[in-house]
């Protein structure tokens, strides 16, 4: 289990992470969401021992991470940067990870390599961004870590490769109870892959929750009224947003879906329906509720 308690990180006075606490259960797939500059990459670097916290503690299975080689043997971090591999071939990358990770499996590497068909003895500087990322991912999975951290995991991968990479990771999780922590702006991928998500905004943790629970707790109701209602017309609902478009009213609310639907129906709409929300929509509505300008979102 990964545990963070009151973690704070500052860069020359700028607070990148502000008193963040949460836990990630072993074997789970955790998605880290957030706007640009929210602190996602900083969080991953703290979780992998690259950065030292300025306050609070972070541990994996009860052991500290920073400057702790034995804890770090259990984890691998694939950052969004791939330039560090430029002077290596895929085969050299295999040897590199094999040196540092004693559980590295040549069988798994060969199998994944055969699946993706990357050149084995060509410098990765000649690879495309997606190919470099594939190379890093298959090395990381073959190293069989207990914890895999990926920053912008699916960036640069084409749709078929995204499916292939996700499949690899799911198999690895099933085989060895590997915990995966992913940061991505691609919320569709997070939604498909993760079972838990956490959202950061301006260095603060907005929420961390089971994805299904989260999706069950926030919903969208589409209705048609003679007179367009306002938020105050539904005092019993925890409304995040109410919009009107082409005679239809859209209400985004938190809480029990059936109760919310009943409350809207009680106002006598000519038409009323519950629409399931995607993670992307939940993210946008949550951010809007925090005052974040929708036009700046990049997902």
């Amino acid at each position: 289990m990964i545990k963070l308690e009151n973690v704070t990180k500052k860069f020359d006075g700028f607070v990148a992470l502000d008193n963040v606490s949460f836990e990630i259960q072993k074997g789970s797939a955790y998605g880290l969401l957030g706007s640009n500059g929210a602190g996602k990459s900083t969080m991953l670097r703290i979780l992998t021992g690259v950065y030292k916290t300025d306050g609070g503690t972070v541990s994996i299975e009860g052991e500290s991470i920073y400057d702790n080689a034995f804890t770090k043997q259990k984890l691998i971090f694939i950052s969004d940067e791939t330039a560090q591999y430029s002077n290596m071939t895929l085969n050299q990358m295999r040897k590199f990870y094999k040196m540092f990770y004693p559980n590295f499996s040549d069988d798994i590497f060969s199998r994944l390599h055969a699946l993706l068909g990357l050149p084995l003895n060509k410098k990765t500087s000649a690879f495309s961004k997606g190919m470099k990322r594939q190379a890093a991912v298959i090395c990381a999975i073959a190293a069989r870590p207990d914890y895999l951290f990926l920053d912008e995991a699916f960036d640069g991968l084409d749709p078929s490769m995204r499916i292939a990479v996700k499949k690899m990771m799911v198999e690895a999780m099933a085989d060895s109870e590997m915990t995966v922590v992913i940061s991505s702006h691609n919320l569709k991928e997070i939604e498909e892959f993760c079972d838990t998500v956490g959202m950061l905004h301006h260095g603060k943790l907005i929420f961390t929750r089971d994805l299904y629970e989260l999706k069950g707790n926030i919903h969208k109701i589409q209705a048609s009224f003679e007179k367009e209602p306002v938020k105050e017309d539904f005092p019993e609902l925890d409304i995040l947003l109410i919009e009107h478009n082409s005679g239809l009213t859209y209400i985004i609310a938190q809480g029990d879906a059936e109760k919310s639907l009943e409350a809207v129906k009680a106002k006598g709409p000519s038409f009323c329906d519950l629409i399931p929300l995607s993670l992307e929509e939940i993210f946008i509505y949550e951010m809007e509720a925090l005052g974040y300008d929708k036009n700046q979102l990049d997902s």
Partner: protein
């Protein structure tokens, strides 16, 4: 079950990875080491052409020197590059995530980087260069000096090895304190400048003020001990000089190599120990600086929050102390701290502005930086000025009490009588009181600055060396270099030249110690002895006895004129380090009669192996002519041309303009050639040259 690696495994794996990563650099470093062989190829070429004329040899010698220089510069470049690339985790943002999250501790990473970089960058060059020693020994089998050559060349390579190691350590320190390559290079420049200037100048400047010793004397000692990149210059010169013994088989290899090594810093174990300690301290500093730096600072100019201010303070300190020391070196105790303050402030300000503008830190940080700059400048320059104007808070002019002193040595004289000591000390105190430092920068040797202002008009100079030997064995030394051209200087001269006490002479003390030194040979440099003479060994004791008698009752400042020197040496030592020179004065009539009696003197042709003559043809005072030189060996002394040529020279400077002067190699005697002898001298010189060339050609083929 999850397998785990031990710390040793971590280190081994990381080390293997780094070596693998840097293998190409290691190959380049080794190839550069091959240049050491190339210089031998040049030397061997000369050896194979044994009859090659001297001038051509000189050109090839220069070529081997250039090769040495290129090899060293290349080795320096590779050392710095390897250090910075080996520690690229601290300066390359791309590698932060990969290396930072690897299962290795900071300690493993630091020492892995340190050792691998050293093995890649420094060792290949050093090892390949060292392999050239047996190569030289084998190839030099045709000469008489391979063993000696390899012995000295080993010391040269030791200096190269330590200089590269020192540079490597500084480069590692620069990487540890920086966040970018450009920052690391800037720090490297600052650190090298600080080591080259700040440390040596600081020690010399403060020691000179505290002890009252001569700045330049202290500097020479400190320079030898302090690790320094500029020692590369002495390395090149020494390497080239040792090569010269191959090129010129007329040089005495042992003497020449010994002389060449004189400029080498690492010719003794104490210096090697100091260098080693300094290198270890630098590495330790780099370790702790890297341990407490934050990974997020990679990509910024400095790896630590206060790194910029630290470097800025070093720059300010180096500049201020450089100017203080420069003035101390040029003017003895005659400081112009107002000038020092102004010039150093301008230079510091310019550098500060360049730093600030290049770093684009914004106005707020600019003002913080300016505050730090001004503060550090005020502290450093204030401290330096305070030391100067107070004479190191009175230490410079503090003299031991009479009861503490067992002996005083003043120039060539020595006092042991308590009354003499008290009288001399009183005189010394009066001088210090009269010329003590004042706020307007006037010092005991203010005359020196006047001397320079007057365009070097010298009205006499006095070098006053004073040494108090205390009863507890400590020694207090003072040295004043005084120009006697203003009132201050004249008063000083008057005071020091007329010490009205009867004194036991310094020579007397030396004479009484002669037996302890086991000195068995006596060289005489004496009026009328061209090239010097030797005393017959069995006559040495007798001369010492005579000199002892002559010394009685000598008085400092008497009008007695020194007309020669008797130098007693150990004939087996050869270094001359343990020699004792006794001055002979005009009043030593018995001693003079003894050493001019030819029955007591070894003949000239047994005294010296050869005389090295260098002629300046033309007006010797203006050097408006040309130089030529050749040797006359003992075997040539009987050549009638040589005998006649020597008879044309005179010790007395002719009233009319002399047109040649000659320096005797061993005893530094200047001879003159009167104008009327010029034509005959030229004819004889040509004949002597022809004879030498014929002999050389015969030997070659």
């Amino acid at each position: 079950m999850t397998k785990t690696n031990s710390t040793a495994d971590h280190f081994k794996n990381y080390f293997r990875f780094k070596i693998y990563e840097g293998k190409r650099l290691a190959a380049i470093s080794a190839i550069m080491g091959l240049l050491s062989f190339l210089q031998y190829a040049v030397i061997l070429l000369v050896i194979s052409r044994g009859g090659m004329e001297r001038e051509h040899n000189e050109q090839l010698f220069m070529f081997s020197k250039i090769i040495c220089f290129i090899a060293l510069i290349a080795a320096f470049g590779i050392t710095v590059y390897t250090a910075l690339s080996s520690f690229d985790f601290y300066v390359n943002k791309h590698k932060t995530d990969m290396l930072g999250s690897l299962p290795i501790s900071h300690r493993v990473r630091f020492f892995g980087d340190l050792l691998s970089g050293y093995i890649i960058g420094v060792l290949p060059f050093s090892v390949v260069s060292a392999l050239s020693i047996p190569f030289a020994a084998a190839a030099g089998g045709t000469t008489s000096v391979p063993a000696l050559y390899t012995q000295y060349y080993g010391l040269v390579l030791l200096t190269v090895f330590f200089t590269l190691t020192f540079l490597y350590a500084i480069s590692v320190l620069s990487a540890a304190i920086s966040g970018r390559i450009i920052g690391a290079v800037a720090c490297l420049i600052v650190f090298v400048a600080a080591f080259e200037t700040a440390i040596e100048d600081s020690v010399s400047f403060f020691l000179a003020n505290i002890t009252g010793l001569d700045y330049f004397d202290i500097m020479q000692t400190v320079e030898k001990i302090t690790p320094s990149i500029s020692d590369a210059q002495s390395v090149v010169n020494t390497m080239a000089s040792t090569n010269r013994i191959f090129l010129n088989n007329q040089l005495d290899p042992e003497e020449y190599c010994h002389s060449a090594l004189g400029g080498l810093a690492l010719s003794n174990s104490v210096n090697i120990l100091v260098w080693t300690v300094v290198i270890v301290l630098i590495i330790a500093a780099a370790f702790f600086l890297s341990k407490f730096r934050k990974a997020e600072r990679i990509g910024g100019a400095f790896g630590h929050k206060y790194g910029y201010y630290f470097i800025l303070s070093i720059v300010v300190y180096t500049i201020v102390i450089y100017f203080c020391a420069d003035r101390a070196e040029s003017y003895g105790f005659g400081y112009d701290y107002d000038l020092i303050s102004l010039v150093s402030a301008i230079v510091c300000a310019v550098i500060f502005l360049v730093f600030e503008i290049s770093m684009r830190r914004g106005w707020k940080n600019f003002f913080i930086g300016a505050g730090v700059f001004a503060g550090s400048y005020a502290v450093v320059s204030g401290m330096a000025v305070l030391v100067m104007i107070t004479g190191a808070f009175g230490l410079r002019n503090k003299l031991p009490e009479v009861d503490e002193i067992s002996a005083v040595e003043y120039n060539d004289y020595r006092f042991t009588d308590k009354e003499d000591i008290a009288a001399f000390r009183e005189k010394h105190l009066n001088i210090l009181e009269t010329y003590k430092p004042s706020l307007n920068g006037t010092y005991i040797t203010s005359a020196i600055s006047y001397y320079y202002q007057l365009g070097g008009i010298d009205d006499g100079e006095g070098m006053y060396n004073i040494k108090y030997t205390l009863k507890n064995g400590d020694v207090v030394e003072r040295k004043y270099d005084v120009m006697h051209i203003d009132e201050a200087g004249k008063k000083c001269k008057e005071a020091m030249d007329n010490i009205p006490v009867g004194l036991n002479s310094y020579n007397d003390q030396l004479l009484s110690n002669l037996e302890n030194y086991n000195l068995d040979s006596c060289h005489l440099q004496f009026k009328g002895y061209i090239g010097g003479r030797k005393l017959k060994p069995e006559k040495i004791t007798e001369l010492i006895k005579l000199l002892n008698e002559e010394q009685q009752g000598k008085v400092v400042g008497s009008s007695d004129k020194r007309i020669g020197t008797a130098t007693f040496v150990n004939s087996e030592d050869g270094s001359g380090k343990n020699s004792i020179s006794i001055d002979i004065y005009e009043s030593y009539t018995k001693a003079i009669a003894f050493i001019t009696d030819q029955n007591n003197i070894v003949p000239l042709d047994e005294t010296i192996d050869h005389i090295y003559y260098s002629f300046t043809v033309g007006n010797h005072s203006s050097k408006n002519g040309f130089d030529m030189s050749f040797r006359i060996y003992q075997s040539e002394m009987s050549d009638p041309n040589v005998i006649e040529l020597l008879s044309l020279l005179t010790e007395e400077e002719p009233a009319n303009e002399a047109i040649a002067y000659i320096t005797c190699y061993d005893f530094v005697t200047t001879l003159y050639l009167p104008k009327e002898n010029l034509e005959r001298f030229g004819e004889l010189a040509v004949e002597i040259f022809k004879t030498k060339l014929e002999k050389a050609n015969t030997a070659a083929y």
